[in-house]
């Protein structure tokens, strides 16, 4: 048996442990309970289902994700839940497959889309599934092994404005997770709490795959408010781990709460965490602060302890391949036997296992953990009927988007039009109206001039 087959085998056996795994408000579920619920649900699903998994509760999300995989189906995790995105993806899924396509959502969520002429909804009551007897171990293991080839579709925002699909199988997600589990020593019990959604790569790996294949448990809810996060962290029976983003963490520190948690570990991603914020988190929460680096194609590939080092350490075995002249960089992931190009320019350090991040290759932006590009956003802005010209702009904090617009429409009209195709985090605030967008002879926006116009208005 090869070493990777061996690690797959022992990882699957680990799923039979009766340790707490999904922590809900009044009880916990073990891995066999979640696997059994998924098995029962899979029996009720049509063959080869195509499911948009929009659950916010992690237990519902995982049970559905696994049930779909057990039924040889495809799980789709949309880049956002704007009506146009869902409709577009839904149409392309329907046209590509003969299978049954539906949106799996919590009752009452996306109420405005219910009864939509094109989208089919399904709500499932999970409580009876959890109450059923556990499925026999051998049957669970074989159902799980079969599910390993099933694909999960994730999305990045392409530069053309069309989301780009990234496909990862369960087995790939598992092998990627094993590297992170080793890095963060997750075979020692820990309690994860996450503010990020499970539908994006950073959320998917940290809220589902790392805990599933390690000894960590995960809080099933997605707490947003400071008091909620504090009380959930305080309930942890092992070392708590908070998974979040710089933007969310910054807001949390402004509450100046007495966190009273011990041995807290914070893992942040989606944007660099600056030292000042990291220091505030450390002193307020008594936490050790880590960041992970990666992208949708690779999941996380490297990490750093923010206050210890500016350099990133690759997870064990990962290698960077850098072309000297062009600085073009690929990362080789031995776990998947594949290489992927990186969007950032990096400088490899002499030990080969660490690197410095030099900057973005393109105009990709991230707001509140969601990714788009200025080109994509501008494309939507210019698509609004009544907008003559316009450009998005990110302030120096990189936190919020602003827009400069030539139009007779009102702010509200522009926002309403944009909200049909963009996730709310990408809506510009404020929108400033001008008579002309500064562009050069080639029509390229002159950002220095935009910056001046923006600062004048504030």
């Amino acid at each position: 048996m090869s070493s990777s087959a061996q690690s797959i085998d022992s990882t699957i056996k680990g799923l039979l442990s009766s340790d707490p795994f999904m922590v809900l408000e009044h009880h916990t579920l073990t891995r066999p309970q979640i696997l059994s619920a998924a098995y029962y649900l899979s029996l009720a699903l049509p063959s080869k289902p195509i499911v948009f998994n929009l659950y916010t509760q992690r237990d519902s999300f995982l049970v559905m994700l696994l049930a779909v995989a057990m039924k040889d189906g495809v799980s789709i995790l949309p880049p956002d839940t704007a009506e146009n995105t869902l409709t577009q993806l839904f149409h392309s899924a329907v046209s590509e497959t003969a299978g049954s396509v539906f949106l799996a959502v919590e009752q009452g969520q996306y109420a405005s889309l219910e009864g939509h002429e094109a989208l089919r909804f399904k709500s499932i009551d999970f409580t009876p599934l959890y109450a059923k007897p556990l499925v026999e171990e051998a049957l669970l293991c074989s159902a799980f092994e079969k599910a390993l080839v099933a694909p999960i579709w994730l999305f990045t925002s392409g530069s053309t404005g069309k989301p780009k699909r990234v496909v990862k199988t369960w087995q790939e997600m598992m092998l990627l997770a094993l590297q992170a589990i080793k890095r963060f020593e997750l075979m020692q019990p820990k309690c994860f709490v996450a503010t990020v959604p499970s539908q994006h790569m950073f959320g998917l790996e940290t809220t589902i795959f790392w805990p599933l294949f390690s000894k960590a448990s995960i809080w099933a809810g997605r707490p947003i408010f400071a008091e909620d996060i504090k009380s959930v962290l305080a309930q942890s029976i092992h070392c708590p781990v908070l998974i979040s983003t710089p933007l969310h963490l910054k807001k949390l520190t402004q509450f100046e709460l007495d966190w009273k948690v011990s041995d807290l570990m914070v893992i942040s991603a989606t944007a660099p965490l600056n030292h000042e914020l990291a220091e505030t988190i450390q002193s307020q929460m008594q936490a050790k602060i880590f960041e992970v680096y990666g992208c949708t194609e690779t999941a996380s590939i490297a990490s750093r302890e923010t206050l210890q080092s500016d350099d990133w350490s690759l997870y064990d075995g990962n290698q960077l391949l850098i072309e000297e002249e062009s600085h073009f960089c690929e990362v080789h992931l031995p776990s998947l036997s594949k290489s992927y190009p990186l969007q950032d320019e990096v400088e490899s350090l002499s030990d080969k296992s660490s690197f410095k991040l030099l900057g973005r290759r393109s105009d990709l932006i991230k707001v509140a953990g969601k990714r788009s590009s200025l080109m994509n956003l501008n494309h939507h802005l210019l698509g609004v009927d009544g907008v003559k010209d316009g450009v998005f702009w990110v302030d120096d904090d990189g936190e919020r988007l602003q827009a400069l617009v030539v139009s007779d429409l009102t702010t509200q009209q522009i926002k309403q039009a944009l909200s049909k195709s963009l996730d709310p985090v990408f809506l510009p605030r404020p929108i400033r109206f001008v008579t002309k967008i500064p562009r050069n002879a080639l029509g390229k926006v002159q950002y220095q001039a935009v910056k001046k116009l923006m600062s004048k208005g504030s």
């Binding site: 947003i224 408010f225 400071a226 933007l247 807001k251 309403q416 709310p424 605030r429 404020p430 504030s458």
Partner: protein
């Protein structure tokens, strides 16, 4: 719009940097999130921060139904009047 509702509308505008909207443009019965002002979960966190600073209110998702509290400026204003620290 009552004076209490106006105060909440002003607070929201300031908290989430909606400086291009004036208080008069806000319909107190419109949803604050998604369909109305297009706010997201980070905005909810920012608004909860303001409620904490100004009124000593600690928002928890277990409070009644958080969706109902944040449903509109009118409902948020009612919640603040009932729960603010004297």
């Amino acid at each position: 719009m009552t004076p209490e509702q106006k105060e909440i509308a002003e607070m929201i505008i300031e908290a989430v940097n909606l400086e291009d909207i004036s208080v008069d443009e806000i319909d107190v019965n419109e949803p604050i999130f998604n369909d109305g002002l297009g706010l997201d979960s980070i905005d909810a966190l920012e608004i909860s921060l303001e409620l904490n600073k100004r009124y000593g209110i600690k928002i928890k998702s277990g409070d009644q139904n958080i969706g109902n509290i944040f449903a509109s400026v009118a409902s948020l204003s009612d919640f603040v009047q009932t729960n603010k620290q004297a």
